[in-house]
């Protein structure tokens, strides 16, 4: 288990893709295993042939006589004949798997818009009657549902990748790429930007929470609500600080702010991590991040806030109410 609450609820190797949790990723695993097994066997055979062939030699710096010997072409003929079999199987299987998972299937149950920015993910759920909402770096999907993801890139190229649910699709400015994924079982699945995108490419992660449809609906309804009204003195003071210091880049739905630069914070506390999967979402981490994000994620777009102790406490208290 990782420090800091990162990776909680995940396997010991959250980005490993030889285990899958969804139909799209599952189609790739056996093909990868087959090609991998063939590769290992080929390497072992060649290594053995090479080793045995060299063992027949002798350490001698004096050049021996030149002998023509047999033409040796049998090696090439047999080698090629034997290699052709796994090559052909690999080729056919590849085409079959590609056909199976390349395009979005017809039975899409949910469509979301993911916008990759330096260095975080904005996720929008378009509502059927204008009642959409946005979240960041963590999004939920219902299990057993195929989800279409429209990928938008307003700055540089990124790549959307949730290994245990789906392979990579690049996010390219000027075009909207489509990908899809689905989870067969509930769980928390880690994703990561997979195309180099600048200083903090390393710390641009996301998490997908798959949960049974009923539970997903509860989450969705909760996300649709505006931010909770601050009732205590410290949270009200926190809101004033938010408006003067944070609202240029962040949104609290119901209280204003500006989207598209920093994550929507309306339901911040419903998310398990902050700073695009870099830190667990705890009071201490929130305070540390607000005061000095540059030491945690050097180059991040968020400047350090230099708040007084009291101001910081109040802002964190406000954030703590954003369930």
């Amino acid at each position: 288990v990782a420090v800091d609450g990162l990776g909680s609820g995940m396997t010991a190797t959250p980005l490993a893709y030889l285990t899958s949790a969804g139909t799209r990723a599952a189609a790739i695993v056996p093909l990868t295993c087959f090609l991998g097994a063939v590769s290992v066997v080929v390497c072992l055979i060649i290594a053995m042939l090479l080793w045995l062939g060299i063992r027949r030699g002798h350490a001698d710096t004096v050049a021996g006589p030149v002998v023509r010997g047999g033409d040796g072409l049998g090696w090439i003929k047999w080698g090629m004949a034997l290699s052709a079999v796994p090559l052909a199987i690999g080729l056919i299987w590849t085409m079959a798997a590609l056909g199976q998972i390349v395009g979005p299937p017809r039975d899409i149950g949910l469509t979301i818009d993911v916008t990759a920015r330096q260095w975080w993910w904005e996720v929008r759920y378009p509502g059927t009657s204008g009642r959409g909402f946005a979240t960041a770096n963590e999004f939920h999907i219902p299990t057993g549902t195929k989800v279409l993801v429209r990928l938008h890139g307003p700055d540089v190229i990124h790549s959307f990748w949730v290994p245990q649910l789906s392979g990579k699709t690049d996010v390219i400015p000027g075009q909207t790429n489509l990908t899809w994924l689905g989870a067969d079982r509930p769980g928390r699945y880690r994703g990561q930007c997979a195309e180099y995108c600048g200083l903090e490419h390393a710390k641009m992660a996301l998490e997908v929470v798959a949960e049974p449809p009923a539970q997903f609906d509860v989450w969705r309804r909760a996300q649709l609500r505006p931010a909770a009204l601050p009732v205590t003195a410290d949270t009200q003071h926190g809101l004033a600080i938010f408006r003067s210091r944070c609202a240029q880049c962040h949104v609290l739905r119901g209280f204003g702010g500006r989207a598209e630069i920093g994550p929507d914070l309306t339901h911040l506390m419903s998310r398990a991590t902050i700073a695009a999967g870099s830190l667990g979402n705890s009071t201490g981490n929130l305070a540390g991040w607000i005061e000095d994000p540059q030491s945690i994620k050097p180059g991040a777009r968020m400047p350090g806030q230099q708040l007084s102790g009291q101001e910081l406490n109040d802002v964190v208290a406000l954030l703590g109410t954003l369930e």
């Binding site: 893709y17 990868t32 090609l35 080929v42 090479l50 710096t61 030149v66 590609l98 195309e195 390393a202």
Partner: protein, 646 residues
């Protein structure tokens, strides 16, 4: 003196008086003047090799810094910006400034000797190619050493490389440096192509060329075709950055993917261009130690060409995740799987050569033979990435880093080090130390595999490429530590190689002309060769002129000690492209200031463009023009004679 319009060449014996006359004609003047003006292919070849090895050391140090930063989770030895500049420069240095130039160096030194010629087709172009390479290497490092290095990876994807996201001069250093380097590679490639088809000794028909010639020839044709794509791409990028064009900028209607197409149309053939000549070294070197000819010469030669032809049709496998339609991906996927076939032909030919002969285990043999295994490991992982659905998971993880290092270190560095042990006596007249060589080999081999074999697993566990740090808890920490240890062991092995070179240069045993009992013409001349290479132009009757007695090959025998003397000037004979029938006597140019002046003027021009100092750029342009005038000024002596026969 007016040269005769036609002349029948004198046929004579190799004799001391002839050698004395030729030496006077071909010798480079001693001292610094000769150093700057020489056009001797052997001198130029060695300069290429030495410069490339210096850059290998530099790129290696960059790699070690990267590996220290990644030795454990959450380390802060480097800032993200330093890390990004380091991995970018590591890629640029190794791929562009080491892997290709070092092969150019070997080919420059060896080609005329292998072909039975006295020089390359265009000696001044050869010198020019080196000086521009040196200028480009300095140019590309100037930004980095002043803290303004490029930081967008060697692949340099836009929009990140565009001015909005990379405002500093780093990307301009890279863009202009690459255009400059492209000039060097292009003229070098043209020189190799003409040399291969015109400069072979009489009788060396195209099916008698050593495989190294096939490899470098194929790579040169590819370079000439694809370098315009990358030069154009970098030029357009520079225009986007500095003049507000929008070739790649979506806001202005441009296409970020256009960059990727242009880059990889160049980039993938380039990968083959930096391995095919090295495969040629193994195809020529390995049989010498197996004491028999290469198995399947024709198949290996054809597979070299076939690899390149298929290599033009696989660039999209670098772009499987870019959202291109499935149907178009399937073609590139198929081509990428099929390209393993010609590579497999070479592998089985080498294995068969070992089994059909009886190997003599030397350091050079160890490097050549181990390359077969490293090639296979890099090949099968390439086969895995050729499968689109699998690649969607593998791409941009450390699996690819492992794959590409097996390919580039396995098929470039190992053969090159082996080739150094093999041809060092020819280069310097001294043998390298075999005992230290054995240590050198095993340290490099074990260190490399310790570092990079586990990296496949790191990739399968999902570690993305190009991340400056990683958190604990992902299963990568131990593997990364092992890789860091392995990379340092590997570096110690490379250091042993450098030590062996230095030591052998001073104290190595004096080498005879033919220390290994080799079959090809370079072993027929003294170690090191005289400036004129061959006292008489040899006439070739088989693929293995020095093994004819043992193999009893063909009907006639090659004539190495009696042939055209061509001693009335700095003369060579050109031959017909396929059958190598004697064609013309050609007077070669003398040592010249023009190549270094032209290269210097170009470097000035490019530096001025970088700073947008237009007055200096105009001056640079005029100097380029002046140097070209000096170069092209008609010299009666260089007029070509009519056919020598008839």
């Amino acid at each position: 003196m007016t040269p005769a319009a036609t002349r029948t060449p004198v046929i004579g014996d190799d004799a001391p008086e002839l050698r004395a006359r030729l030496l006077a004609l071909w010798k480079t003047a001693p001292g610094w003047r000769g150093w700057f003006t020489t056009v001797d292919h052997k001198e130029i070849g060695l300069r290429y090799i030495v410069t490339a090895f210096v850059l290998l050391a530099l790129g290696g140090i960059e790699a070690l810094a990267i590996r220290l930063q990644l030795a454990g989770p959450d380390l802060h030895l480097l800032t993200p910006d330093q890390y990004n500049q380091l991995f970018t420069m590591h890629g640029i240095t190794m791929i562009f400034l080491f892997a290709s130039p070092v092969l150019s160096g070997f080919s420059n030194f060896l080609w005329p000797l292998l072909l039975g010629s006295r020089d390359m087709a265009f000696p001044r172009l050869n010198a020019f190619s080196y000086w521009v390479y040196l200028a480009a290497a300095l140019f590309l490092h100037a930004g980095f050493l002043t803290g303004n290095g490029p930081n967008d990876g060697w692949f340099n994807y836009v929009p990140y490389a565009d001015r909005a996201f990379s405002p500093g001069p780093g990307q301009d250093f890279y863009a202009l440096g690459m255009v400059l380097l492209g000039i060097s590679t292009s003229v070098g490639a043209a020189n190799f192509i003409v040399t291969a088809f015109k400069m072979r000794a009489p009788g060396m028909s195209i099916n008698r060329m050593p495989i190294l010639i096939w490899g470098t020839l194929t790579a040169s044709v590819a370079n000439l075709i694809v370098i315009p794509a990358v030069s154009l791409a970098f030029f357009l990028l520079w225009m986007d950055r500095q003049f507000g064009t929008a070739f790649f900028r979506p806001v202005g209607g441009g296409q970020p993917l256009l960059w990727q197409h242009l880059f990889w149309i160049f980039g993938h053939p380039w990968v083959y261009a930096i391995v095919l000549p090295a495969m040629g070294m193994v195809s020529d070197g390995l049989p010498v130690f197996c004491r028999r000819p290469l198995v399947g010469y024709s198949l290996v030669a054809l597979s070299t060409v076939a690899t390149m032809i298929l290599g033009f049709g696989v660039w999209v496998h670098h772009m499987f995740a870019t959202g291109l339609p499935g149907l178009s991906l399937s073609f590139f996927s198929g081509a990428s799987i099929v390209i393993t076939v010609p590579s497999a032909v070479a592998v089985f030919a080498w294995l068969a050569t070992i089994w059909a002969g009886r190997p003599i285990i030397t350091t050079a043999f160890r490097f050549f033979a181990s390359m077969i295994l490293l090639f296979v490991i890099g090949g099968v992982s390439g086969f895995m990435t050729a499968s689109v659905p699998v690649d969607w998971q593998l791409t941009d993880t450390y699996f690819i880093v492992a794959h590409l290092h097996y390919v580039l270190v396995g098929i470039n560095v190992f053969p090159v080090v082996g080739a150094t042990y093999f041809w060092f006596p020819k280069f310097t007249g001294r043998m390298m130390d075999e005992r230290l060589g054995k240590w050198n080999f095993w340290t490099m081999f074990l260190g490399f595999n310790l570092g990079f074999l586990p990296m496949h697993l790191t990739g399968l566990l999902g570690m993305p490429r190009r991340i400056w740090t990683y958190p604990a808890g992902f299963g990568w920490s131990t593997l990364n530590l092992v890789t860091t240890i392995g990379s340092f062991v590997f570096a110690i092995g490379v250091l042993m190689f450098f030590i062996n070179v230095a030591k052998s240069l001073k104290w190595g045993v004096k080498a005879p002309a033919d220390p290994w009992g080799g079959p090809t013409l370079e072993w027929a001349v003294p170690s090191p060769p005289e400036p004129y290479n061959f006292a008489v132009i040899p006439t070739i009757a088989s693929r293995h002129p020095l093994w004819e007695e043992a193999l009893d090959e063909g009907s006639g025998r090659s004539s190495l000690h009696r042939g055209m003397t061509l001693d009335q000037g700095k003369e060579v004979v050109t031959t017909t492209p396929m059958d190598a029938e004697p064609d013309r006597i050609v007077e070669m140019p003398q040592d010249s200031w023009a190549p270094i002046l032209l290269a210097g003027a170009l470097a000035l021009l490019f530096a001025a463009l970088l700073f947008k100092a237009w007055a200096v750029a105009a001056l640079g342009g005029m100097l380029v023009f002046g140097a070209l005038l000096l170069w092209l000024w008609p010299q009666r002596r260089l007029f070509e004679r009519k056919p020598a026969h008839g």
